[in-house]
Amino acid sequence: MRHFLRIFLSRPIPLAGLAIFAVIVALALLAPLLFARGPFIIVGMPLLPPGAPGLLAGSDVLGRDMAVGLAYGARISLLVGITSTLGAVGIGVLLGAVAGYYGGWLDDLLMRVTEFFQIIPNFVLLMVLVAFLQPSLSSTVIGIALVTWPQVARVVRGEFLSLRGREFVQAARTLGMRDGAIIFTQILPNALPPIIVVGSMMVGSAILTESALSFLGLSDPNLLSWGSMIGGSRSAMWVAWWTTVLPGLAIMITVLALNFIGDGLNDALNPRRRR
């Protein structure tokens, strides 16, 4: 573990990523302490520019304080990003492991299913799912998890296919280990690095997808997320640039931090380390 940390923190990109991400998480958690009242409170006239009296980031189309909105918006984005990825990774690892280890018709079945997800435009499928489950936080999380698990399954299947042939796995079989033990104690630990890297990238793309859904109005209206802030400002943008620019910047910085962390993980965990 020490070795991994030394490599991970030695390069500027992952270090910066971790720092930014930590700030954002802190901002999200401490929002109630930093700001007296919630993000929905109307504090003045709509569309006041940043720097107007008492408004660090200006007011949005309803006269609400955008700084508070940005802080609370972080909660939704992080929550959706992390939970949907955990869900997708859970399903993906399970199916990928079984298909990769046993192969045969199970593997073919999984490949056909992942192919289906490659053929149907993913975002349209996600919209249908969210429309069916009625837009809400849980429908967004379930929708994103259901649409993105094939990415993890493909990676895990690939890893299991290559590791299954390795000699230490054959040794485990000769030693009388049951399949379950082999999968979870022998193969999975060695398949973790690529899963962790894919997982970190997926948190970022899940945040982007959630913001896209709420931008199109397919999210729970009672919740304020960065995407819904941008969605609400499509017309206001023409008279008040900050209503669109600021939430967008927040999304970009968060996802960028996650991409930096992902790049750092990929480098630190990758056995054939370049450089």
Partner: protein
Amino acid sequence: MLDRRAVLGGTGLLAFPAQGRAADKRRIINAMMTDEPAHLNYPLFNTRIMQEICGNINESLLLFDWQFKPHPNLARAFEMSPDGMTYTFHLRPDVRWHDGVPFTARDVAFSCGVMLPQLNPRSRNAFSHVGEIKVVDRCTIRFDMKQPFNAFLLSLMASSAPMMPAHIYEGTNFRTNPFNFKPIGTGPFKFAEWRRGQFIHLARNDHYWRPGQPGMDGIYYRLCPTPEQRLVAMESGAADFAMADDIDTVVNSRMVANPNVVARSDAFNGTGEISVMEMNQRRWPFSDRRFRAAFMHAIDRNFLVKAINFGLGKVATSPIPSNLPYHDDKAVVKYPFDPARARALLDEMGMKPGRGGVRHRFGIMMIPDGGGYWTRAAHYIKQALSEVGLEVNLESTDWPTFSRRSGNWEFDVDCNSYGQYGDPAIGTARFFLSSNIRKGVPQSNIQGYNNPEVDALFHQAAVAVDPAEVQRHYSRLQYVLTRDVAMVWLYERQPMFFYNKRLKNVIMGPNGPADGFGSVTLA
């Protein structure tokens, strides 16, 4: 209060891109449509975009001025018997349909007797009062009423009673008649071409009966799906008209300040639309008048209009809009913004604040308007109600879900708006008559409001002949409805109508576009 324009001006964003083309001398009007109508059968499909397009094709017997007094149109003259039981119309002899067939009393009899009642719910109410329609001769037609109906003339307004060609529709299935896609009318413009997903083109009717009209050679209604796209189209001169919901109220100030554009807020007085919230009065606590009153007191409707809706509209004090006949401000019970009074009412009901100060939780079903002014109003009201301990869960929907849930009464509170169309009997009655409580049908008395006195008053007002008697009934009605808080009236909408200053004579009456653009000419 800070003058918004100064603030916007300050940010240097009021600069306008140069006009796309120097004041265009071509005699073509470029209008826009938010989405494409399914077909152009006016009575069958009566949305706003249909009124704006078919208003140029199908005409009505009468036109109405700003005081809603009737003026000749297809009917050059008309008489009403003193007891209000018979109406006789004398048609213009020289009117021809776009396909050259002469317009006769037979067309009027077919339209008012068969097609309109069958297809259009609003016409059905109006013509249900008619006993018999007699074709006296080619140019004269007489309506014998079952009982007097003083709103009968107003129900002949363009959007409620467009005259349809008998020789095209009689004996056919109105829904699948091919002419639904190439309508025939008598109006200043006739149907030319419809290129799906792009535009609908109306060309000038050279044989139009009104001398000197139409002033222009044609109209293009181009598909322009998003509000920002329509804003840019108006500013760049690519579009001459922007009607009602075309432009989001957020950028209203930018349009008003645009030197190339004329802004009119009275073009839709005829419709007299009120933005409301309907309560499902079958469910507690919405069944309790005090709760509804507290709901009204909790909302600062002046702030709602000035800030949230950027100054467009006027606080609605009565079920009948202020700029329409029979509005009586003295008769109504007023509900000023008074959170303390609201809390008192809720306490009186025994609805004490529980954990976290929350007295009651309920849902508000929103209109799927893509984050427009409806959504913003709902968000403001949720915020205002939370101040008095009422926690609101905003339910987002799409059109299928909204129609299904409102029609089947599966909601606590929903957002909506209704148009008066000139006379309370036409536009307002349908929301409060107990006879109009019909499951599965959106835009009816979905609240379940049932007050026999109101039913009787609407009936008496409709049949009264003496105008003073009619006013007395409607004043009483306005008192009873507001006393019962039969509905949450938010504000009278003032949909804007913007047109390029290269044109003039665009808005000639309270119906605005619904009366057609025959009179429009180059400025």
